[in-house]
């Protein structure tokens, strides 16, 4: 069974972010592995561990795929040190500012070349927060879309995958057959910390870096354009009271004054 895990390097959620010429300034900001993608890596590892592991020469592999600047190798190393086998990084200056359509197009091309049975994503990237790339991948790859999974069961012998989907619309049990695209919610597992051994082993693992020509794609410019980006005024400092027994009354008075009740 060949599993691909799509991961993205994103600006640290805590870092101050700036827009430069309508694009997120990704250079002058701390970057980390999108934390929701750690759950995807963990789930991939748990799936192979339940079915003969991913030792070299064994039946299963976990490949990390990422599109981003060269610097994304930092995030990729983390995934490799958790236990993924190898990685592909698609990096090209022409991809700067790529939207979800372009991202999914590039990832889908690499995935279909690799002949993966199972693709696992996070449910959203903490920077774009679109939650559309996994669905777009399923569309492009004509794979079963098994997204927003809080539980995944894979049976490599029958090639059947079933998931529990949790969204605002309720809870669904869904199944499909290889090839499938899964996205996992953060309830699904507890991602492992890379062990010292894992970190050492990751240094020797292969990250194949490809540009667009190597992927075999020409890419259009982004299909949406930022016209304007303005900083909103910060919330004015609010009122703060220490409860000395009158806190509740003051709260109610505030609600009345603001016509909230």
């Amino acid at each position: 069974m060949k599993i691909a895990v799509c991961i993205k390097q994103v600006p640290d959620s805590w870092a101050e972010k700036k827009m430069v010429n309508g694009l997120l300034d990704r250079v002058n900001v701390d970057a980390v592995l999108n934390d929701l993608d750690e759950y995807a890596i963990e789930e991939a590892l748990r799936i192979v561990e339940a079915h003969d592991g991913n030792e070299e020469g064994g039946p299963n592999t976990v490949t990390v795929i990422s599109m981003g600047p060269e610097r994304a190798t930092e995030a990729i190393r983390k995934a490799l040190s958790m236990g993924a086998n190898d990685a592909i990084l698609i990096s090209d200056a022409k991809l700067a500012g790529a939207d979800a359509l372009t991202t999914s197009k590039v990832l889908a091309q690499v995935i279909s070349h690799g002949g993966f049975d199972v693709v696992i994503c996070g449910t959203e990237s903490t920077d774009a927060r679109m939650s559309v790339v996994p669905a777009m991948l399923a569309e492009r790859l004509e794979s079963a879309q098994l997204t927003f999974a809080s539980a995944v069961t894979v049976d490599p012998s029958t090639k059947k995958v079933s998931i529990t989907r949790v969204t605002e619309a309720g809870v669904d049990e869904i199944f499909g057959e290889f090839p499938v695209v899964i996205s996992v919610v953060e309830k699904i597992n507890e991602p492992r910390y890379p062990s010292f051994k894992g970190i050492m082993a990751a240094k020797k693992k292969v990250i194949e870096v490809k540009d667009l020509a190597a992927v075999g794609l020409e890419v259009e410019n982004s299909w949406s354009m930022v016209v304007d980006a303005v900083l909103r005024p910060a919330r004015a400092a609010g009122v703060r009271v220490t409860d000395d027994g009158s806190g509740a009354d003051q709260l109610v008075t505030y609600l009345v004054e603001k016509k909230l009740i």
Binding site: E139, V226, G238, V241, D243, V252, L260
Partner: protein, 317 residues
């Protein structure tokens, strides 16, 4: 006049408020046709549920592939309707299902997509709040049929009664959109309280409740509010996951958000900081949630909430 498609949004068998919000934005741009994806035999009933908002037409498609929120089938049909009706834009509710349908439809129709819009102008420029609401971005789609998902409760709906013309289309879902099979489907548990993303007031509890949500619920009920929870509370099993507010839960933007015993981690703030007013009750004056509070009480929620509940109820009497 040009046509704008909206994807009708349902909560159970009722059209959600979001449907009227989408229609309101759509009516600024053109004449609104609401697309209704209905299970077999339920088309007429679902169409009849579209009775509020500036909606001129309803287009109903029935298919058994829509059961259990078939995203692939929904996108397949929506793309077919787009090629039949040639709309100037498509507006969809910005939740998991809506965004995924939008994503697949954008791929199918070679169109640009913007998600999580908080406003859409007549010239199709789209406003989003990014970086946790700190920056306002205006964007335009330059390619294909603009596909825009709009956050619930961002646009104040025009609640005119609607009496749209109803058209039923028989369209087939392609085989490649039937790769995932739904074996069972449970709607979210709906208590007597308003739906989290639709409520005007949300009262949320966190780890500080120590598992006892009674005071939070009582205060919520006095205000007619929905109840939310932090991840610490849902993880502990104190409150259902469907009530989680935050990055990996729901995004809410009510008139008033009351955070009780919640520290204000960035992942929680991501789901509530665009609320119009924020009230905090927390016994730790250093809790980061105070940074975004319009009104904060430093105190024990078990002391403050019951009294506040009494105070609100007394005003109603």
């Amino acid at each position: 006049m040009s046509t704008v498609l909206i994807l009708a949004d349902f909560v159970g068998k009722k059209a959600s408020k979001t449907t009227a919000e989408l229609a309101t934005a759509g009516a600024r741009i053109g004449e609104v046709s609401a697309v209704v994806l209905a299970p077999p035999g339920q088309g007429a009933e679902c169409a009849a549920a579209i009775n509020v908002g500036p909606i001129s037409h309803v287009i109903v498609i029935e298919s058994d592939s829509f059961a259990g929120n078939g995203v692939a089938a929904g996108a397949d049909i929506l793309a077919q309707v787009i090629s039949l009706k040639n709309p100037v834009a498509v507006l969809i509710a910005s939740h998991a299902f809506g965004k995924e349908i939008a994503g697949r439809t954008a791929v199918k129709t070679h169109s640009g997509i913007i998600t999580d819009a908080v406003d859409v102008a007549a010239d199709l420029s789209v406003t989003q709040l990014i970086f946790g609401g700190s920056t306002t971005v205006t964007s335009k789609i330059s390619h294909g049929t603009p596909i825009i998902t709009v956050r619930p409760k961002s646009i104040s709906p025009d609640l005119v009664p609607a009496s749209p013309t109803v058209e039923t289309l028989s369209l087939l879902v392609s085989q490649s959109s039937k790769k995932a099979t739904v074996t069972s489907s449970q709607p979210p548990v709906q208590g007597g309280r308003p739906e989290l993303t639709e409520a005007d007031i949300v009262v949320s509890g966190g780890r500080g409740t120590n598992g006892d949500f009674a005071a939070v619920e009582a205060f919520a009920d006095s205000l007619g509010a929905a109840v939310g929870a932090s991840r610490a509370a849902t993880d502990a099993g104190w409150y259902p996951h469907s009530h989680q507010v935050g990055q990996t839960g729901k995004t809410v933007s009510p008139q008033l958000y009351v955070a009780c015993g919640i520290s204000g981690a960035i992942q929680h703030r991501a789901g509530m900081q665009t609320s119009k007013a924020i009230v905090v009750i927390n016994k730790d004056p250093e809790a980061p949630i105070f940074e975004i509070a319009d009104f904060g009480v430093i105190g024990d929620l078990f002391a403050v909430l019951p009294k506040a509940t009494e105070g609100v109820n007394a005003r109603k009497a």
